[in-house]
């Protein structure tokens, strides 16, 4: 199944998701609401997306954006699944029950961005020490030990 056929198929099955589906880089990009993330991910897995390559987050200033990279080994197509997460009380459903590979990636996102994943079995920091203050990849992170690079270098 090519990505265009997949788009037709998805639009037929989920008409409300159709305007949020776009094609870039030869892969599909599907943007969903944070509340519908788990449902959409579950449907995509049932369609044959059996591999979650990675997931990460982007700090957009007003909100965070979660990005999941899915891949189907049978259809040979890739898919980006995106959703916005509010900055205050950043929470989103965990996808570890669908793809076990989400476990460590979500711990990494929690460690560096501070997004909490509901339903994660072991949501602890993975890179930094347990008592680290703050989440370093947030744009408003400040650390008095950090030295800003001067302009002449």
């Amino acid at each position: 199944m090519k990505i265009e056929e997949l788009r037709e198929h998805l639009c037929g099955r989920y008409p409300d998701l159709c305007p949020l589906f776009s094609l870039e880089f030869g892969d599909g990009i599907l943007v969903v609401d944070a509340g519908k993330l788990h449902e959409a991910a579950s449907d995509l897995r049932d369609l044959g997306f059996d591999l979650l390559g990675w997931c990460t987050a982007v700090d957009r200033g007003a909100h965070f954006e979660m990005v999941y990279r899915l891949r189907s080994r049978t259809m040979q197509v890739g898919m980006f699944l995106k959703c916005d997460v509010p900055r205050e009380d950043a929470r989103i459903a965990s996808l570890t029950d669908l793809w076990p590979s989400a476990d460590w990636h979500e711990r990494e996102v929690y460690d560096l961005f501070g997004i909490r994943f509901d339903g994660h079995p072991n949501l602890r920091r993975i890179f930094l020490p347990e008592d680290w203050p703050g989440h370093p990849l947030r744009k408003d992170y400040r650390d008095e030990r950090m030295i800003r690079r001067p302009d002449y270098i």
């Binding site: 007003a62 930094l128 370093p136 744009k139 408003d140 950090m146 030295i147 800003r148 302009d151």
Partner: protein, 207 residues
């Protein structure tokens, strides 16, 4: 014969027997510096290369021994992060006295390319360990490492037997409070280069 000559030379300057035994101990220690390969990053590749047959660390009496209780010198090869720092410190504390530290590579010397804009890297292992020899390079060649250990041998040969004796060294790198290059002192007038105020870079990326 050369060994006997050197022994005699080190003995003739010291009339006391105790001093001579110290010299003998230091001489023997300096020629069998077993190394703890604390390879925390890519400099460990050069450390491994230095200990294998092409560069052959064994001919200097140094070979890697991955056990802190059997070694004399800890070679810290690579970046030390703040998470790794307590582990390195603990391994150092397990080493028997007398013990020495070689900081290999720019990251272990000063933080290297992670000196600026990094929240997780220790800026030089001399923040928490007494370093005896610094080896610059990114990474240093194996010859540099061997030269550093040979210099450590000279240091060991001439050291006091007092295990608490340390040689204080000043950190020559710029500190955050230092004035930057090209920046005028306050009251010296306007700068010609149009340099930015120190806090100006931080303004752009605030959320």
């Amino acid at each position: 014969m050369a060994l006997v000559d050197r022994l005699g030379k080190s003995l003739e300057s010291a009339p006391l027997l105790l001093t001579s035994v110290d010299a003998l101990v230091d001489w023997s220690l300096g020629h069998s510096l077993w190394a703890m390969p604390m390879g925390t990053a890519c400099c460990a590749m050069e450390l491994i290369a230095a200990s294998f047959s092409k560069f052959d660390f064994d001919r200097h009496g140094t070979f890697p021994r991955p056990d802190p209780r059997h070694v004399d010198v800890m070679i810290i090869a690579g970046t030390v992060t703040r998470k790794m720092q307590p582990a390195v410190k603990r391994l150092y504390e397990q080493m028997p006295d007398p013990k020495f530290v070689v900081a290999m590579g720019n990251c272990a010397v000063s933080g290297g390319i992670f000196f600026y804009d990094s929240y997780s890297v220790v800026r030089g292992v001399d923040e928490f360990l007494p370093v005896d020899v610094y080896i610059s390079g990114c990474p240093p060649r194996p010859e540099s490492l061997q030269d550093g250990v040979l210099r450590l041998r000279e240091l060991v040969r001439t050291r006091s037997i007092d295990p608490d004796k340390r040689y204080p060294k000043d950190l020559l790198l710029p500190k955050p409070s230092d004035r930057r290059r090209g920046e005028k002192a306050p009251g010296e007038g306007e700068g010609a280069r149009g340099e930015k105020a120190p806090g100006e870079r931080e303004g752009g990326d605030a959320a």
